[in-house]
């Protein structure tokens, strides 16, 4: 494909969101517009958990779209999110992933900022022996670090580049907010660790993967055979009003063959683990759902599968690759046995996870098929062509919802 920014693109297919043109996964001009309209537009972007920066002075590096940022807790206990760019000469001043500091000092010329990102020190601002220095009209207060809007809810930090973004609660909408609050219920969180993988495919394929309950019943032997997430179990796919957020909800079933499992090549009635402690979930949330996978537009997945809890942050790098940053957590008041379960079940997830490994490899071969075929379209007709809530898994409704909103925001 001609990937020059000004190269003519085919128009979006007439079928709208039941067909996705492959050029949205390859075109650098599309990627650039996504940064402007989505990541730097009216969106709330996941930054980190508050548990990662519990004390004043604690910081955590993150990246929102292609913009590196730092989340800091200041002396008032508030979370600030600033661009990781010195206001002087643009040096990326923070190069550790996490840590603690009293003030921010850019290593290059030692411009100094407080924990709110305000400029508090410029060496030789007044010159030396009456010579040099900054002009008399230089105002420190006009040259702080660029600060983003911040919204914290029950221990999760979001930021936005735009003043037009509605309040977070409104942005999520009532149903998605309820799902968010089910996991982030206000209890103090315990950070269990971070993992990060670089996947050579377009970032949107990651959103699509978690919005797609159909693949889960076909691809993942572990989910299917052990009944952790399977098409014949009572399930819901619920979207917000715009279609941009979704949650897939299901209930654990048994490892028994039935009419549905006959169509699942990867169902293995005889498959068993030698050490069964790995799949030994304990009920812990209200209601009967045992799995809820939530995708919040545009950069975060909230994973509750049995007792393994994590956020997965999508960090787009360019049209053909993104980083997936995992943050595993539990609750500060977890009994030791439950904490142990979370750690064991984490073997299902992450870059080597029994389940997630299948996904990252599926994304890899997807991009391998997309790159040489930009003239082709993706077909999204499973479960019809509409965007609506469903009470089954044989549907791509949440992917259509994503693209319904995507095409509006992108003007495509």
């Amino acid at each position: 494909m001609d990937t020059r920014a000004d190269a003519p693109r085919r128009p979006w297919p007439n079928e709208r969101w039941s067909r996705i043109p492959n050029w949205v996964y390859t075109d650098p001009a599309v990627f650039q517009r996504e940064q402007e309209r989505i990541f730097e537009g009216a969106s709330w972007l996941y930054v980190c958990l508050e548990a990662e920066i519990p004390r004043p002075g604690d910081f955590k590096r993150s990246q929102l779209g292609t913009k590196p940022v730092v989340a800091l807790r200041d002396g008032d206990g508030l979370v600030n999110v600033v661009l990781n760019r010195c206001a002087h000469r643009s040096a990326q001043f923070c190069n550790a992933n996490a840590g603690s500091l009293k003030e921010i000092v850019c290593p290059y010329h030692q411009w100094t900022y407080n924990l709110k990102g305000e400029l508090v020190g410029v060496p030789f601002r007044r010159g030396y022996h009456g010579q040099g220095g900054m002009p008399a009209e230089f105002r420190m207060e006009e040259h702080g670090l660029q600060r983003l809007r911040v919204s914290c809810r029950n221990g999760v930090v979001f930021a936005s580049f735009s003043d037009a973004t509605e309040p977070l609660e409104q942005y999520l909408g009532p149903r998605q907010l309820a799902s968010f609050d089910r996991v982030f219920d206000g209890r103090e969180l315990e950070l269990l660790g971070n993992l990060r993988q670089r996947i050579p495919c377009n970032w949107k394929l990651m959103q699509e993967n978690i919005k797609d309950p159909y693949h889960a019943s076909l691809l993942h032997v572990f989910l299917v055979s052990f009944g952790l997430f399977r098409l014949d179990q009572r399930s819901e796919v619920e979207l917000d009003e715009t279609g941009r957020h979704a949650v897939l909800i299901s209930r654990r079933g048994e490892q028994v063959a039935n009419e549905a499992t006959q169509e699942m090549r990867n169902f293995r009635a005889d498959f068993a683990l030698e050490d069964k402690r790995l799949i030994d979930p304990q009920r812990e949330f209200p209601g009967d759902a045992t799995v809820a996978m939530q995708t919040i537009w545009p950069n975060i997945i909230i994973q509750q599968q049995s007792n393994t809890l994590a956020t997965r942050q999508i960090v787009p790098l360019d049209a053909g690759q993104f980083d997936l940053a995992w943050t595993f957590f539990g609750y500060r008041d977890d009994p030791p046995e439950l904490r142990q379960r979370r750690l064991r079940q984490a073997n299902l997830m992450g870059p080597a996870g029994y389940v997630s490994l299948d996904d990252s490899e599926a994304l890899l071969i997807s991009q391998w098929g997309i790159d040489p075929n930009p003239e082709a379209d993706m077909l999204l007709e499973m479960g019809g062509r509409e965007v609506r809530n469903e009470t089954h898994m044989v549907t791509e409704t949440a992917l259509r919802g994503f693209y319904k909103y995507y095409t509006e925001v992108m003007g495509l």
Binding site: N97, A98, L191, L192, G193, N194, L195, R196, Q197, R198, I199, P200, L219, V221, F222, N266, R268, F271, L273, E274, D275, R277, L278, D323, F328, L343, R344, A346, N347, G350, P351, A352, Y354, S356, L357, D358, S360, E361, A362, L364, I365
Partner: protein, 166 residues
């Protein structure tokens, strides 16, 4: 040639030789595709973990893999052989600077650097992971094996996925 010993530590030549042989057998099993031999180099109640340096240094428990028994290691191999989806690849281990750190009642403490080179279809070979093994080695029925193997990798970022054991 066996591994080096920490300064001031006297380690009999034949023990050094046997420790060196254990690491060779480890690489042979994984690089030669004889994955079923890999769990046999561990004790029944072994601990095997792969985690980023970032978590290791902050005492955070999460890693890529955490096995608490030889049975869990065998489950990993079963999944590798029978259930996991992944593009074909060859991973080769390069182990260097193997050193016996201490000989203690609960076993031999050893450490080494590892470098994993991955070769995938249609791609040139690439550096996949680099890091350090922190191991405890014990003797069971006359053979040395790993009671603990902690694989701490340097880079925060894993390229796509970890399919084969480190």
């Amino acid at each position: 040639m066996g591994p080096a010993a920490a300064p001031g530590l006297e380690v009999p030549h034949d023990l050094r030789q046997r420790v060196g042989d254990l690491y060779c057998a480890y690489c042979d099993a994984l690089d030669g595709g004889e994955y079923e031999r890999w769990p046999e180099l561990f004790t029944e109640a072994c601990l095997y973990k792969v985690l980023p340096r970032e978590n290791f240094e902050r005492n955070l428990p999460i890693g890529l893999i955490a096995c608490e028994s030889r049975a869990m290691l065998r489950d990993r191999i079963t999944a590798l052989r029978e259930t996991a989806l992944y593009a074909p690849r060859i991973v080769r281990h390069f182990v260097s600077s193997l050193r016996i750190r201490a000989v203690e009642p609960d076993g031999i403490r050893a450490s080494a650097n590892f470098l994993l080179i991955q070769s995938m279809v249609d791609q040139p070979s690439e550096v996949f992971l680099a890091g350090t093994y922190h191991d405890r080695i014990v003797e069971v029925d006359g053979a040395l094996c790993f009671a603990e193997k902690l694989c701490v990798y340097d880079s925060t970022i894993v390229p796509t996925s970890l399919v084969l054991p480190v």
